[in-house]
């Protein structure tokens, strides 16, 4: 903290490094305090609203024709280094697991906060943050085809493409908590690039009858043996300063 203030002082006065002389320390310190105070008064941060999209999802949709994803992100600084954050997304994905081909589609909403740990210089607005989210998805699962589990292969195992289990399971939900770590860097003007990693813990989900939520929009892959999942996003956001 003190070091930072000293550095701030150096920059604001643009003086050379030979200024610290033992006899003058007390005088210098009082001067620093005065300068910092006046800087603080002037540097009242505006309430910035940032919004944008996750670039990784359209990128992945380009690579994989069985995937579509869109995520809108937004945050607003509400006091000190706390930001309220929200993500709203939609995903459609068809995938082949070991023996089942299925499609998942649905929307999700994540609401939470970020806490910025990065001490910015005056005029900068970058952040390295930790945060939390509550996530909720509204989705449906469709079983397209599957190969029944057979231990004995005297007869050919037929892939089942129609029947009572080839159906859509709708009105499904999942709720989870995310721990977020990420950064946002100001590129030009009010444009920010951001990256975040997320560790998800599933709280509860409505399981489809005679199937499972193998994939949950927003949460990603759900495994059989534990409740943890992971995700990331790569965002580009635009900031609108709001002076109150």
């Amino acid at each position: 903290m003190r070091k930072l203030r000293i550095w701030l002082f150096i920059i604001s006065l643009s003086i050379s490094s030979s200024w610290i002389i033992a006899q003058e320390v007390t005088a210098e310190e009082s001067l620093i305090e005065e300068v910092i105070d006046s800087v603080k008064k002037r540097e009242k941060k505006p309430y910035t609203i940032r919004f944008g999209i996750d670039l990784s999802k359209p990128f992945m949709a380009q690579l994989n024709k069985d995937y579509f994803g869109l995520e809108l992100v937004g945050d607003i600084r509400f006091f000190s280094e706390f930001y309220a954050a929200v993500e709203l997304g939609n995903e459609r994905r068809t995938q082949q697991s070991e023996r089942i081909n299925f499609s998942t589609s649905g929307s999700y909403l994540k609401i939470g906060f970020d806490y910025n740990l990065y001490k910015n210089w005056k005029g900068m607005n970058n952040s390295i943050y930790l945060g939390m989210r509550l996530g909720n998805s509204f989705h449906k699962q469709t079983v397209n085809e599957y190969e029944p589990y057979e231990l004995h292969h005297y007869w050919n195992t037929e892939i089942i493409r129609q029947g009572p289990e080839i159906r859509e399971h709708d009105k499904l939900q999942a709720r989870w908590i995310e721990v977020v770590a990420g950064l946002k860097v100001k590129m030009i003007n009010n444009l920010y690039m951001g990256f975040s990693l997320r560790l998800n813990r599933l709280m509860n989900d409505t399981r489809p009858n005679n199937f499972d939520n193998l994939y949950i929009p927003g949460f990603n892959k759900k495994t059989d043996e534990n409740v943890w999942g992971a995700g990331f996003n790569y965002t580009i956001t635009y900031a609108i300063p709001v002076k109150l």
Partner: protein, 160 residues
């Protein structure tokens, strides 16, 4: 530097192998039909068969040549019937052959991600049909259980 970093990222995202992806050995799959062989003169007691050649109709290879009093026979998935030719005494000069059709339907139950679904067969009301009759060795057939949910109990009895 940038391409190398990108490759690393792509590897991270797309190549992930988990325990989840392997169906554990010992997970019960689709059960076979357990057939026990009984004495038609004394319905209470088992009577084993010797050198019973079992072959699915339209199949070239045999399922097995079996001696004993109970055997597990796989049924055809996603079909409404399974046909087998049962030939007794395949090593003796007099061949006694019977072709048997089992009528069944099925329902499939989800197990987990790696194993997927397993099938459970249910016998139809007219659950069997002897395609060749007369000089065969099978005297009668009895249904023991309607639903083939596991291989722990027998499902069908053949009297001979």
């Amino acid at each position: 530097m940038i391409p190398r970093f990108l490759i690393f990222l792509i590897v991270l995202i797309f190549l992930s192998c988990e325990k989840d992806d392997i169906c554990l050995e010992g997970t019960p799959g689709t059960p076979r039909m357990i057939v026990i062989f009984k004495d038609h003169q004394n319905p209470q007691s088992k009577k084993g068969v010797t050198d019973l050649l079992i072959r699915g109709l339209e199949k070239k290879e045999n399922l097995t040549v079996y001696s004993g009093d109970s055997i597990a026979i796989p049924l055809r998935n996603n079909f409404e019937f399974t046909q087998y030719e049962l030939t007794l005494g395949s090593s003796s000069p007099t061949l006694l052959s019977d072709s048997l059709q089992i009528n069944h339907n099925q329902f499939d139950t989800y197990i987990n991600r790696a194993c997927g679904y397993k099938s459970t067969f249910v016998f139809e009301k007219s659950y069997h049909y002897l395609i060749t009759q007369g000089t065969g060795w099978i005297k009668s057939i009895e249904k023991i259980k309607d639903t083939l949910s596991d291989e722990k109990t027998s499902h069908l009895a053949i009297y001979h």
